[in-house]
């Protein structure tokens, strides 16, 4: 993942660290932060707190200095949830989520004390496999109802994906957090100017046809074509029944006919002048706000920049155009407790706070990802002051394909992105480009 300020031209962030957090106060005089019953009498995860656990928790997240400030506001109010716990927040502004995982590994090897980390899909498998993480099963057992209620409010496949891709031995190492899927941000203004109605879904052929009309009638570029693994490669692949790896992440599948077809189609957008030439840098939300760009891909993270540009009005979320099948990549962050943590009980209290609806709602307003709780993602906190049809990102989780997170993820991502860039720019034939990447990935995966 790249920083949130780098958009289509570079390959966008998959998950953005939350910003502008604040914490609802909670209190509870039990030994742990407990929960209160919801309106239907069933256990409702937390609005009570007042945990008696004490100590310091070191929390590491993917983000920059601005993110640290936002988290610090959050943890100022966390004091009411767990008064005896102080949280020390550190951000790592890495280039991608895979790079972030690498930097965390380097810090751990250097002896830095870390208790809880925000780890995305790309890093979960490797951390779990390196015996760095504390199994969460005893903690979950202790607060079973609390955690079950949270799981029930998550996308249904989350738990299975965590077990399949982030647990080498069947134990639970992560509590899933927020996530992103990929849809298209569509400019109603540009479409209106071209006299074209925004479809609720479209095929590749329809996408191309509409693109030509818009280019002809408005002069605007139709789509921001990039080479980001999550933002460009996976959406095109998954909407044609392809992916970077097979289902159990043991073999690369980049050189299938469907994958080559997807890259060839993406390239055609550049060849026809419907997409800006790739290879440099430009800001897609700004171009959309200026009426120069009709669509670009994204999860939740482009919404805050569009707000800053006062460009939300008229923008709508539409599924990616499909060929063989509907699809979307999905990536999520999750919270583990490090084995080396000196205060695992306090770390667990922090993770429990992350599971609360209150935290979710605050995250939903300004965060760059979809809150893990479906109830929150469908609420006003998430949908107001946002492009229309924002809950589409939640629905896409049902058909999504997890973004790969193999051991040498950073190198694999570079190989994939370079191949895609070579393909869409016409520098290398798509079949050859993907063939080269397939060979590189096979080498990296030892297959």
């Amino acid at each position: 993942m790249r920083r949130r300020t780098l958009l289509a031209g570079l390959g966008s962030a998959m998950l953005i660290p939350p910003s502008a957090m604040a914490l609802a106060g909670c209190s509870d005089d039990s030994g742990s932060s407990g929960f209160t019953a919801g309106g239907d009498g069933k256990p409702g995860a937390n609005s009570s707190g007042g945990s008696k656990v004490t100590g310091e928790v070191n929390f590491l997240f993917y983000g920059d200095a601005a993110g640290v400030k936002d988290y610090q506001k959050l943890f100022t109010k966390f004091a009411a949830f767990a008064p005896g716990i102080t949280v020390k927040v550190t951000g790592i502004a890495a280039k991608t989520w895979a790079d972030f995982a690498n930097q965390v590994s380097t810090r751990l090897a250097g002896g830095q004390t870390i208790d809880v980390i925000q780890i995305a899909t790309e890093g979960q498998a490797i951390f779990a496999s390196k015996n760095l993480l504390e199994p969460l099963d005893p903690y979950i057992q202790k607060d079973q109802d609390y955690v079950d209620e949270y799981y029930k409010d998550n996308p249904p496949k989350f738990k299975d994906w965590m077990q399949q891709h982030a647990s080498p031995d069947g134990k639970t190492y992560f509590i899933p957090g927020s996530y992103n899927t990929m849809a298209l941000y569509v400019s109603g203004k540009v479409f209106q100017k071209a006299g074209v109605e925004i479809p609720t879904e479209w095929t590749w052929d329809e996408f191309l046809q509409i693109g030509k009309t818009i280019k002809e009638k408005t002069g605007a570029y139709f789509h921001a074509a990039g080479a980001g693994q999550f933002t460009d490669v996976m959406p095109w692949l998954t909407n044609n029944g392809a992916s970077i790896l097979n289902e159990d992440w043991t073999e690369p599948t980049l050189n299938t006919p469907q994958a080559i077809e997807a890259l060839t189609f993406a390239k055609s957008l550049v060849d026809l002048g419907l997409s800006p030439k790739p290879g440099g840098t430009y800001d897609a939300p700004t171009l959309m706000a200026q009426g120069k760009l009709a669509t670009f891909g994204g999860g939740r993270w482009p919404t805050p920049p569009l707000r800053k540009l006062n460009a939300i009005e008229g923008v709508q979320m539409v599924p990616w155009p499909k060929k063989a099948t509907e699809g979307s990549p999905i990536g999520w962050d999750a919270w583990p407790i490090l084995k080396s943590s000196k205060n695992k009980d306090a770390a667990w209290e922090l993770i429990k706070y992350f599971m609360t609806p209150d935290y979710g709602k605050l995250f939903a307003v300004n965060g760059g990802a979809v809150p893990g709780r479906i109830s929150v993602a469908n609420s006003d906190s998430f949908t107001s002051d946002a492009p229309a049809n924002m809950p589409l990102l939640v629905k896409l989780a049902d058909i999504a394909t997890p973004v790969p997170g193999i051991a040498r993820g950073a190198e694999a991502q570079t190989a994939v992105e370079q191949a895609w860039l070579q393909g869409i720019s016409g520098t290398t034939d798509p079949a050859k480009a993907l063939g080269n990447a397939q060979t590189k990935l096979q080498g990296l995966m030892g297959s």
Binding site: A109, K130, G280, T281
Partner: protein
């Protein structure tokens, strides 16, 4: 009796104090050298004998990492790219720096001279991260200002960062823009050490500007040229920042350099032992080339 000292023991004490004072003065530099240069160097030598992924205990493998070097085609590619980059950097810096220094040294207005010197040196003060992002925007093939202006002339610029044959030249150009100010200052300082009487004498003897430049100025500036070439080569061989930020070593490994490969091996592939081996190779190459430069300097550098 206490307090009685002979002249020789007094001078011995003075010499000792003088030595101690000397050591105290150099101790910060020595400490920095030990911690940040010698220490890591010794650690790299030790680590090169191990297989180590940072997260599990290191495993002694002897010289296995060294045995891997000749079979590593990507390492050889990175070294090739690095030599190409360094050679181009040295040539363009020496020529460009000299020409700029000559232009500024030509007795132009003092105020203008200060302005030009500042303007030329200013890019050197900007961080590589800012420079890299700036040029990514400038050279964007659709929205960049470079494409905009050359488009007005009817020229379609290449895809600088996507075409393998253009990516490294683009990086060389960006590096030149960023660091030419430093070489320019060195050349300017060297030019100003050339005695004006020598130039006058040559002119009186009938030499034209070009002849004066090549037969008087350049020979007298050979120590400066030598210093600039050594420094430029050492810096260029370690190029990393713009490649990490702009191209990531691509397209098709056309811009991957030795230090970039070292970084990828150590901090992405987590092969610390092999990365240490690569570090030693880089050190050996730089040392060898520098020694060759010093040996060669006996033939062409005219020291006063």
């Amino acid at each position: 009796m206490a307090g009685n000292t002979t002249p020789s023991s007094r001078s011995g004490q003075l010499r000792q104090r003088s030595r101690l004072a000397g050591w105290l003065f150099v101790s910060p530099a020595v400490l920095l050298f030990l911690i940040f240069v010698l220490g890591p160097f010794v650690a790299a030598m030790a680590l090169s004998l191990f297989s180590y992924d940072l997260l599990t205990p290191p495993k002694f493998v002897g010289f296995k990492n060294f045995g891997q070097l000749p079979k590593d085609s990507l390492l050889l590619r990175s070294l090739g790219n690095t030599f190409l980059f360094a050679f181009a950097s040295v040539v363009t810096h020496l020529v460009g720096g000299m020409l700029l220094a000559l232009a500024v040294n030509r007795g132009i207005n003092k105020v203008l001279s200060y302005f030009v010197r500042t303007a030329l040196f200013f890019p050197f003060l900007i961080s590589w991260a800012a420079v890299s992002l700036l040029w990514k925007y400038v050279l964007d093939p659709t929205f960049g200002i470079f494409a905009f202006y050359v488009g007005k002339l009817g020229i379609t610029p290449p895809l600088w960062f996507t075409e393998p044959r253009w990516a490294l030249p683009a990086i060389i150009g960006i590096d030149w823009w960023h660091t030419i100010g430093y070489t320019f200052l060195i050349m300017l300082a060297g030019l100003q050490t050339v005695p004006s009487e020598m130039i006058e004498a040559a002119r009186v003897d009938g030499a034209n500007r070009v002849q004066t430049f090549f037969n008087v100025t350049v020979p007298l500036m050979t120590p400066t040229l030598f210093f600039a070439s050594v420094i430029t080569f050492i810096g260029a061989f370690q190029i990393f920042d713009p490649i990490q930020i702009i191209t990531g070593g691509g397209p098709n490994d056309s811009t991957i350099t030795a230090v970039m490969y070292l970084y990828q091996t150590g901090f992405q592939a987590f092969q610390i032992g092999y990365a240490s081996t690569i570090a030693l190779v880089i050190f050996a190459v730089i040392m060898l080339v520098t020694l060759l430069q010093f040996w060669g300097s006996r033939k062409w550098v005219h020291n006063a």
